[in-house]
């Protein structure tokens, strides 16, 4: 909304592994995703594993009824192994209940992080409600990733706002015909302290990696894969400051 482009140094660009390098990462993020894909929740989990040190505290996954119907329930055998035994799932009937559950979760010191899934643009999720969530995360330090399924980019106070959709995955090493490890095309369209940009994100080995362009679509395995793209060197496709 600022008419003057803000000069942003490359050091402030978002990149995976930012939190482990000691940088301050905003704790309230929103991920906009299509409801017919599992990408929103998957990316939120990938962010959580990327940002947070491994501990044994449980985490909360709140879904409202519409999100549950459109995109299904968490499935324990498919969750990341480090997280699957610690999940506490809340099936809320309405968006109001889901917001209540999110706020209660953020106030709980025994939770590692909270993931919310809301479908559409419910009236209850106004700017005020969003601001309440931001304040609760900042006060108690529990990070929140709120997945918005099939939602417009409405007003919100999330510090990082992502738009994500699926991206063709890297072919696995032994069966080129099979789908590989998940990859996502993620656009950071609003952020405080980071310039917006677009990346292809994927889970590579232990952590989250970002790439420009996409995975090599042919060839066996990972020869030449990730050459020169350690997480710290990944660059956004377009590092444009939105005016």
């Amino acid at each position: 909304m600022n008419a003057i482009p803000v000069p942003l140094s490359r050091a402030s660009a978002w990149r995976p592994g930012l939190a482990s390098n000691g940088a301050e990462v905003p704790r309230h993020s929103e991920v906009f995703a299509p409801a017919s894909e599992g990408t929103g929740a998957a990316l939120a989990l990938a962010f959580a594993q990327d940002q947070l040190a491994i501990d044994e505290r449980p985490w909360l996954w709140v879904q409202d009824k519409a999100a549950l119907r459109l995109s299904g329930r968490p499935y324990r055998p498919g969750l990341p192994p480090a997280l699957r035994h610690r999940l506490i799932h809340v099936a809320a009937k309405s968006p109001e209940d889901a917001l209540f559950a999110l706020e209660e979760g953020l106030r709980c010191r025994d939770l590692a992080f909270v993931i919310g899934e809301l479908a559409g643009n419910p009236k209850a999720l106004s700017f005020t409600a969003s601001r309440r969530l931001s304040l609760a995360t900042e006060k108690h330090g529990v990070p929140l990733w709120l997945v918005r399924l099939d939602a417009r980019r409405d007003l919100g106070s999330a510090r990082l706002r992502w738009e994500v959709r699926a991206s063709p995955s890297a072919p696995p090493r032994w069966n080129g015909q099979a789908p590989g490890a998940p990859a996502w095309r993620a656009e950071l369209f609003r952020a405080r302290g980071h310039p917006p940009g677009e990346w292809i994100l994927g889970e590579e080995g232990e952590g989250l990696v970002a790439r420009v362009g996409g995975w090599p679509s042919t060839g066996l395995g990972r020869a030449g894969f990730g050459l020169g793209t350690t997480p710290a060197q990944a660059e956004p496709v377009e590092a444009l400051a939105h005016g």
Binding site: T39, G72, R76, P77, D110
Partner: protein, 512 residues
């Protein structure tokens, strides 16, 4: 020193209890005419118990009411009450602890009291039996009593021995019938057909023969050898003692009936503080609380609360109850409020003020789950746990978030599973299929997907031990379309498997 066990057989428990409820003494008033307590069975009403007048008339318990009516047309009947009898028996079992430190129920109509080392307080075992008989008679209960070193022997003597028998270690039980061994009716029938009528007949046969004959009978009531050993004290027979349970309770009688919410919240807060004080004295914390509110017009409103972990924090409890009082109809006013805690657990003196701490340091997990499940319902807050099944939708179950996870076999991760599973697999319309049967293009939720890559099939056969024989097998494929969207789809059945028409396709899971 050997144990001494007192067995009490309340011979006519149901009838005695009915008579007490109707203030009739034995042989007087309502008891002079034939009376039967009847139980409804699958074949019509049957007589469960009958009074002396009716037994003299030639009836016996267990006969059909229609047959009994034919014998004695003026028979009066009343419904039997087995649950009430059991509750009464439990209270008598507690009362019977006057003769010994612990007692156990022996349903439907018996009691076992351990009087080891206690008989001298009554002046010997004979005097103890006389005291027990007098006290039971004063309560209007007909009883047969016996004292023996084991529960089995005491039971046998009470039911089949001489009245008020006292068994000494050198006495013999060989004269008692085999029915004194507490066996099932079909085993008794078998023994009678074998010509074994007395316990002495069994001891004459030899253990090997008995063990071979009843080698498949595991339950003690089906195996005469086990019962014989229990009778003689060769194997232990644990009994479940009845323990009096004290339920913490606080209440407030109100001078003026209250009709407004703010006052009620005040009263509930006071009660919660009282309850916290009571529980603190006991070193316990409440898991379940019941708030009863007596209204002026005679109705009682009850609100129940269950907590994920034991707590006695007054502000926390009052806050949880205040959410449950929203739909309360006070009517003309509430005059008595009572708070009880039916379920308590030990809780050491450590917990501080939850509400104030919550503002500063955040809530604990148990408090967070309490708040969530009070507003959203206990079914809304759950945790997935693995379950031993091949079928994907059965491979996980949901349980309470803080309940311990049952141990299970580690799953073998041969195949990748999707991140999310739809509650019901949704059918997809195959528009174009490749020769090997996998669709190349399909329609789901009004959108067309073009499959670029696929892995499969992973064949999962139906669980034949649980499902009907016509259930079809499933071939699962993990697919990715041209845009990178990843799904988990399956084909139900094969062409020509004889279990329905052409196989159908379903989309069940969304991968990350």
């Amino acid at each position: 020193m050997s144990r001494r066990i007192l067995a009490i057989w309340l011979v006519r428990l149901a009838i005695d209890r009915w008579r007490q409820n109707h203030q009739a003494r034995e042989g007087q008033g309502a008891d002079t005419t034939p009376l039967a307590l009847i139980a409804e069975t699958a074949h019509g009403p049957r007589i469960a118990a009958a009074n002396a007048a009716w037994l003299e008339a030639g009836a016996r318990p267990g006969m059909m009411l229609a047959d009994a009516r034919a014998l004695c047309p003026m028979l009066a009947t009343a419904p039997s009450d087995p649950a009430g009898d059991l509750a009464f028996l439990e209270s008598v079992a507690l009362w019977a602890q006057r003769w010994g430190p612990w007692s156990a129920m022996d349903p439907p109509d018996g009691l076992i009291v351990d009087i080891t080392g206690a008989a001298h307080l009554f002046g010997g075992e004979a005097r103890l039996l006389a005291d027990a008989r007098a006290r039971l008679q004063a309560r209007g209960l007909a009883a047969r009593l016996a004292i023996a070193p084991t529960a089995g022997a005491a039971w046998a003597l009470a039911h089949y021995g001489p009245d008020a028998a006292i068994f000494h270690p050198d006495d013999s039980l060989d004269e008692l019938p085999v029915a004194a061994l507490r066996l099932d009716p079909d085993i008794l029938l078998l023994l009678r057909r074998l010509g074994l009528k007395q316990i002495g007949d069994l001891t004459g046969i030899g253990r090997d023969a008995l063990a071979r004959r009843f080698r498949t009978a595991r339950a003690p009531a089906a195996n005469p050898l086990v019962r014989l050993d229990q009778l003689l004290g060769r194997v232990p027979e644990p009994l479940l003692p009845v323990v009096a349970h004290h339920m913490p309770m606080v209440q407030r009688r109100l001078m003026e009936p209250i009709r407004h919410r703010a006052l009620l919240d005040q009263v509930v807060g006071d009660l919660a503080a009282d309850m916290a004080r009571v529980l603190e004295g006991l070193g316990m914390g409440a898991r379940r609380l019941e708030l009863g509110m007596w209204k002026v017009d005679g109705e009682v409103l009850v609100r129940r609360l269950e907590m994920a972990a034991a707590s006695r924090d007054a502000a926390h409890v009052a806050g949880l109850f205040s959410r449950k009082l929203d739909d309360l109809d006070a009517g003309f006013g509430i005059e008595l409020v009572r708070l009880r805690s039916p379920w308590t657990e030990p809780l050491t003196l450590s917990q501080a003020d939850l509400e104030k701490a919550a503002e500063l340091h955040g809530t604990s997990l148990a408090a967070c789950i309490d708040r969530l499940s009070v507003r959203l319902g206990a079914d809304a807050v759950r945790r997935p746990v693995p379950h031993a099944s091949h079928l994907p939708e059965r491979a996980q179950r949901w349980q309470a978030p803080l309940a311990p996870e049952a141990s299970s076999q580690g799953e073998l991760a041969f195949h990748v599973r999707p991140l999310k599973l739809l509650d019901r697999a949704e059918p997809i319309a195959v528009l174009y299929a490749s020769p090997d049967g996998l669709p190349r293009r399909f329609r789901w939720r009004g959108e067309v997907y073009e499959i670029a890559r696929a892995e499969g099939p992973e064949r999962i056969a139906p669980e034949w031990w649980r499902e009907r024989g016509t259930t079809r097998l499933r071939d699962y494929y993990r697919i990715e379309d041209g845009e990178g969207r990843r799904y988990w789809i399956y084909r139900a059945g094969l062409a020509g498997d004889g279990r329905g028409g052409m196989p159908e396709w379903f989309l069940q899971g969304l991968c990350g």
